[in-house]
Symmetry: D2
């Protein structure tokens, strides 16, 4: 069987192609997407060549879908089930998973398969490894359009707060308030932060940042952000800095606004630059207990189920992130190009597919 | 100089007495209370003799006040400062403080001094050890009447959530929704819980529990609470159980509704009973990784400052706990007796003193 | 194909039986044991009926073996490989494994399959689920006879030290110095304990306890162990208590010798008694931060590989545990009965099988 | 009263001077050194100006001594007591101490007072703040000459292992095997590491490294250390890298030899260089969960008491570090200059003073 989808043809080039449908191993599932969203990593992958050359690979790793087929060893899912498919689908038996780092199963980042080294969800059908462990049932009381945010934006953003080990009453700075950074704000807020300084400039993002718990939005266009944060904290700095934007130089700012004993939690994909440069003096000549934690979000079923409960109980609303909605499979291309253009009123587009 | 105050005269007996004013050591402060609240532990202490015999000891350990005198080594506070005085005022240099357990400075529970082994705050003046470390400035933007809740109710209740290690998306049961339990609810919610089942029966408490983040109130009068919780969790139980009420037998219920790998966080003062009984089978014959954590709240300045930021940023409102307000120093007695009587519309009374 | 083995026929009864050989699923392996050891849980299971009725179930869960067959999805193992098979073989994709508790995959204790709810290794052939995740290659430089200890005794005993969170310079008491308790001693020592008080009485065990790092052996026959420990610690008690023996009442002793802020780590299978009773006063009326952690050992490949490196580097010698050695498949019965009789010179018997 | 001592006169210049004896506040002690050791930070301070200009400041922060006077609030020490004085003497009531970072009391590194911003121990008498919290009795069964290592070398080196969160069976690389690095080796070994690759070149250090638990010494003169480590670990790298030597560029090597999910623990004082440069690709584009932890050792009484128990129980021998021994107060200068010259047979010199 042939399936159609939107693919990266090579660096800088996308197009609609047909490929042989994936096969379903005994532990696997084949899923048809019903809601998808393009991600800025798709943009990095195609137009910046961030992960190197790829040809004829279906893009996309954020999807809600319907199970079309399951392997003979799959127990908990069946054809017709409506499911959340996390962007990160680990090999759960791997050594790194046993070590507690399933997202690095096989090798570093090995849990990130879709549109990385395997066909993604911008296709009529896509393959999910270890279905029982990597699919989550979409609860009836969650809007599938909102739910697609959980697969990557929510889990990635909130992981920044986890990496920074946010504690009750902590003062936090979040650098970057695109869709991931907004979820870093939400994560810090959900984990008990008091003051949350969100660094960004676009009004639409600033608005959602405040709705997600930011107590103040700091505009980097109005002055050095380190100085702005220190001015608000009696020169003491913050307990945690979450990095969800910027580049390799952002870490220097983060270190400079951090208290001794504080921590950075970064989920930013660093696409370029040879070094992340940690300023020696501000890092207290290597003796200040300013932790630097950075990593790919966890994935898998349990993660999705837990995040879904935050939506079900009304404690977190992923729908706020969605600024643009498209209808129809073929609109994937338009949505992706919108993501590439990044107009000032965009947080996140979704594409709803009615089969 | 003589000072007047409301004292425990002996087990079962309170009265107004005069005593010599405390002396102010070089690190200490003398404080005049401006808002105080009675605590159910005052009731245990006096009418149940829970900590043994005491005579002519001023009661009370929840106060906002004004600094009247400081020792010559005190740097950060001066006469006239409006301050929050935590119920727990550790000796910060002690070995147990260095081990990370300042609340047990000197000996187990040694950080709990007021109305335990030292005169409390139901007096015209009271003594605070290590003033720089155990006082916190009352921020201008916090109502002192609300702030008195931080000194014990807030910090104790939220410590239950800390002890249980509540994580993003956890399902939590809170047993007991008196003023401490309500703060356990608030703490669980602030730390990222999704479903929070609050066990209690009084409508006034149920109302505040929901405002603090409980998703459902379970009435123990309507059936076994273990069964009620299991029914709501597909028989799987919850990730965390916070204990802020009940007695030694409550732990058996908590264990029975806990998932393997879950944790109990208890802050309940267990006043009677020879044993806390952990049911062997439900505890998975000792092999289920159901952690049991129980302890006295941390105290001191940093703790109060951090909790205050939650109020300042609007993320937590301690004022919801206050159902009864008295005016005047001499009303301490009436407030205490109200606490003893515990009418159904009571959460917490306060006494405001205008000198 | 029929295979022969030593089975539990019913409570109180063992015998040699033949059964149909297990089938090998796509992820699985079939293994022929080359070294096995009986475990005291086999004794509990058969003669105390600790896990309830079982009929015609092959016993045994400690084995070194040779891979005879692998499923078609197995990548890292092949026929002929010499392997360590952990007693605990989790389902790594399960929700509980994703939560960090693989030993409870499926349900509490669900990772413990052999001779619990599945045929064990006292047979000509046995089945291993998720072979890539649950087998470990036996390194050439490790004696297979010693290595069989890693599968359960080592990992279980050391888990007690992990559960108790032993830190550099901690003072530790280990209650019980059978083969698991001796490994608790070794674990505490490897994790940095200074004083290690090992509670036991048999000379052979006392000798190995000292070789494994115990600084003193306390004989419970010479007086109350709580008093003996307090006498050695200026009445302060210890930082950690590891429980690897005794019964439900042992926890009371452990709590009584623990400092505030200390922790119990228990790996004891509690076979009888309705309640584990925590003494209220010694538990500091529920406010002393005396943690109670208890759980089944982790299992799986990574665990075995890591423990094996301790042997390879000469930092831990499991061979010290082996006091009795049998040769021949049929000697399993004699070895098991020896374990049942528990003569005073026994720590652990092994059976070496030459096919 | 005037006291004499060896002082930094200015950058690049030392000399013997007389100063007014320090005063003893109510919480303090005055101590006469009986054993001291120079530290390479004294060298950095004087000859590299690492902490800036200082004039007429007594050097030295590693000492065993005798209490000559205590303040009126000191309870646990008296004139004549033999004591261990940690290099780090925090203000225990400070906010940062309450946050768990006493070494940063007051400000970052504020717990490091001696020969930093306060007169050190190379004098006839020196001042110790908060004596009850910052002195430890020297146990009778510990050699005072060995014990002086505990004050800085031991605690600092072992903190590297703590920062890297070494776990049972971890494979560890220690970069730098001067006296601090050797203790990092000992710390990793005491915390349960299996393979320990110690990077260094001097035979005397290599010998002690092996005695302290290193399984192999890697000589950086024999090739790139990253390649040497990867070659020994099947290209997978190590779980932990402890940095106790090198410079700002050492972190790049450490990151390159670290597994995803691993951690760096650094205690190196970074004296020069603008940036610590983290290689972006080897840091897995910021998504590999390679933690970077770096900080000043904890200090204070409890730390010294716990380390002393490791010596008392024979689990750690600080005496192995001492290669040169001088007798007499005036030999401080010679010992310091020896530290400056760093001959190939030097690990650590001590000066024993007989008053």
């Amino acid at each position: 069987m042939k399936i159609k989808g939107l693919a990266m043809l090579g660096i800088g080039k996308i197009g609609w192609i047909e490929k042989e449908a994936p096969e379903c191993g005994p532990l696997d599932a084949l899923v048809r997407p019903t809601v998808v969203a393009p991600c800025s990593s798709d943009i990095h992958t195609v137009w910046e060549g961030a992960i190197g050359e790829r040809s004829d690979m279906f893009l996309g790793h954020e999807a809600i879908g319907e199970v079309m087929q399951v392997g003979e060893l799959v127990k908990d899912f069946k054809k017709g089930d409506k499911v959340i498919i996390p962007a990160i689908t680990p090999d759960w038996g791997s050594i790194n998973a046993q070590r507690g780092f399933a997202q690095h199963s096989g090798e570093a980042l090995g849990g990130w398969k879709f549109s990385n080294f395997k066909d993604g969800c911008f296709a009529e059908l896509f393959h999910v490894n270890e279905a029982d462990a990597n699919l989550a049932l979409l609860p009836d009381d969650i809007d599938p359009v909102s739910a697609v945010m959980l697969t990557d934006m929510t889990t990635t953003g909130m992981h920044a707060a986890e990496l920074a080990e946010v504690k009750l009453g902590d003062t936090v700075c979040v650098i970057g308030i695109g869709p991931v950074g907004l979820n870093a704000v939400a994560g810090a807020n959900l984990m008990g932060a008091s003051h949350i300084y969100a660094v960004g400039s676009r009004p639409i993002c600033a608005k959602v940042a405040k709705e997600y718990g930011a107590t103040e939005v700091i505009n980097y266009k109005e002055g050095d952000i380190v100085e702005q944060v220190l001015a608000r904290t009696n020169g003491l700095g913050v307990n945690r800095v979450l990095i969800a934007g910027g580049n390799v130089d952002t870490f220097g700012q983060a270190i400079s606004m951090l208290k001794p004993g504080g921590a950075i939690g970064s989920v930013n994909y660093l696409g370029s630059g040879e070094f992340v440069k940690i300023p020696r003096v501000e890092w207290v000549v290597g003796m200040g207990h300013k932790k630097i934690n950075a990593g790919l979000t966890p994935g898998g079923r349990n993660r999705m189920e837990k995040l879904a409960t935050l939506v079900q109980t009304g404690k977190y609303d992923p729908g706020k992130l969605i600024t643009h909605r498209f209808e129809g499979f073929e609109k994937m291309e338009e949505a992706l190009l919108l993501m590439k253009d990044k107009p000032s009123n965009l947080i996140k587009p979704v594409v709803v597919i009615n089969w």
